[in-house]
Amino acid sequence: MSGWPLGVAALAQAFRAGKDDPVRALARARAAAEKGKGDHAILWKVEEAEREAEASRARHADGAPLSPLDGVPLVVKDCIDVAGYPTTNGTRFLMAKVAKDAALVARLRAAGAVIFAKTNMHEFGCQPTGVNPHYGTPVNPWDPDRIPGGSSAGSAVSVASGIAPAAIGTDAGGSVRMPATLCGLVGFKPTFGAVPTDGCAALTRDLDHAGPLAWTVEDATLLFEAMAEVKVDRGLRPARVALLTDFLEGADPAVVETVRAAARDAFGALPEERTPCCAWAAAVEFVVVGSDASALMADLLRDHAGEMGGDARTILQLGGGLKAADRAKADALRAGMRRELDALCERYDLLIGPAAGTLAPPLHPTARRTGELDTHTMARLAAVTFPTNLTGHPSISVPCVPAGSAAQPVGLQLIAARGADAMALAGARAVEALRGPRRPPRWWGP
């Protein structure tokens, strides 16, 4: 889909051919951000971007771009440090400017990318809905009355509504893949540790990942290569693929039908596998996130509880009450989940399931103002993304609604062996070749 007007690969190609340049691309992104400012996707405008775009334009004019990302305007979630700006983590009180870029931002800038804005998110990234009562909830461009997905909500909405060619988010339970899915984008959570998270605000001790949200798998691959400092083998072809039936149980019929059809079209008739440990992912994630987050944010809770949204405050407080026995059992199940997926990945190149258990749920008017705590809906939505945060396996969500359909977005999730990020991307390419991206009705881009 290199013809997509605002994609990373398409822009890089236009820069190389001299048909476009980074200064004009940034100006278009700024204009789109201005048109879409009522959508609450952007929190901070990064002022250095214009100067960086001019430097990039000079490099292109000299025929010496730093990488395919040189001059591409990007946005990053506001839990990722950008020097000279606050890292609010979706709150109203973390306003101190940070001195240093996060490691992944430094790598993107070293590749020539132009970070031009920081994006809105669910407070602390503690839920997958994207609802933010402090800054307004980013508007889902497919349906303003539905949640955008989170916690990287502003990153997803920025891309899906035509403001940015691609974005960076973080993911401790689906927070890249969930908003990508509900906004009709590709979302990639690489193997744990493949992309450095130094300089990213942590929700947990060891579930947090960083990854790209993009229009195409190639765009996500280019961003992953820069952030992980690796070269992805684009010649891989997945041969052994299985469908995870536990991931389909409890999902909306429309999701199940769409995912099964896309998997069949891309890979043929598939064997079906059960994952009895991963089936407990929702309970395990609640315990691990609750206990980790309450410990990591104990000082913030002590000093700023009254300034927090009701849902974030309640989750942190309840997490502090979980017992050591709950955590021990959750850790044992988590180890079982890792063994389970490792064993399946020895037999298969890819494991397939839905990337969200439901279509984007409705956004209640009161929730817009106050936030919301809805554990059942949250688990129905994200139980399928939790497992790979708990195990560290790479997982990618790719849109799988047929082109030309006006249906709400559905994402197909592909999981590969730990370290086999290239295989996950290869599988997503196979799905994308049949389905591809669709532009939503709400669009601010050129």
């Binding site: 596998e273 059960r274 440990c277 992912a281 929702a282 309840l318 979980l322 103002r369 139980a383």
Partner: protein, 59 residues
């Protein structure tokens, strides 16, 4: 997937109230009893008690 039992969403003034109540230790523990039960946390098995991942069907 094992999912929490359906429960009404908490939002608006009720969410404000719950966020204040759960800042008090014993009230937090009372609320947590229900949240743990709804989420199935007490029912989490040890992995040894579960069947190994298995093939359901072949193409």
């Amino acid at each position: 997937m094992h999912l929490p039992v359906p429960a009404p969403p908490i939002r608006g003034p009720l969410l404000w109230l719950v966020s204040r109540l759960t800042s008090v230790g014993f009230l937090r523990d009372l609320v947590l009893l229900k949240v743990r039960a709804d989420a199935g946390i007490p029912k989490m098995p040890f992995p040894d008690a579960l069947p190994a991942a298995r093939v359901e069907g072949k193409p």
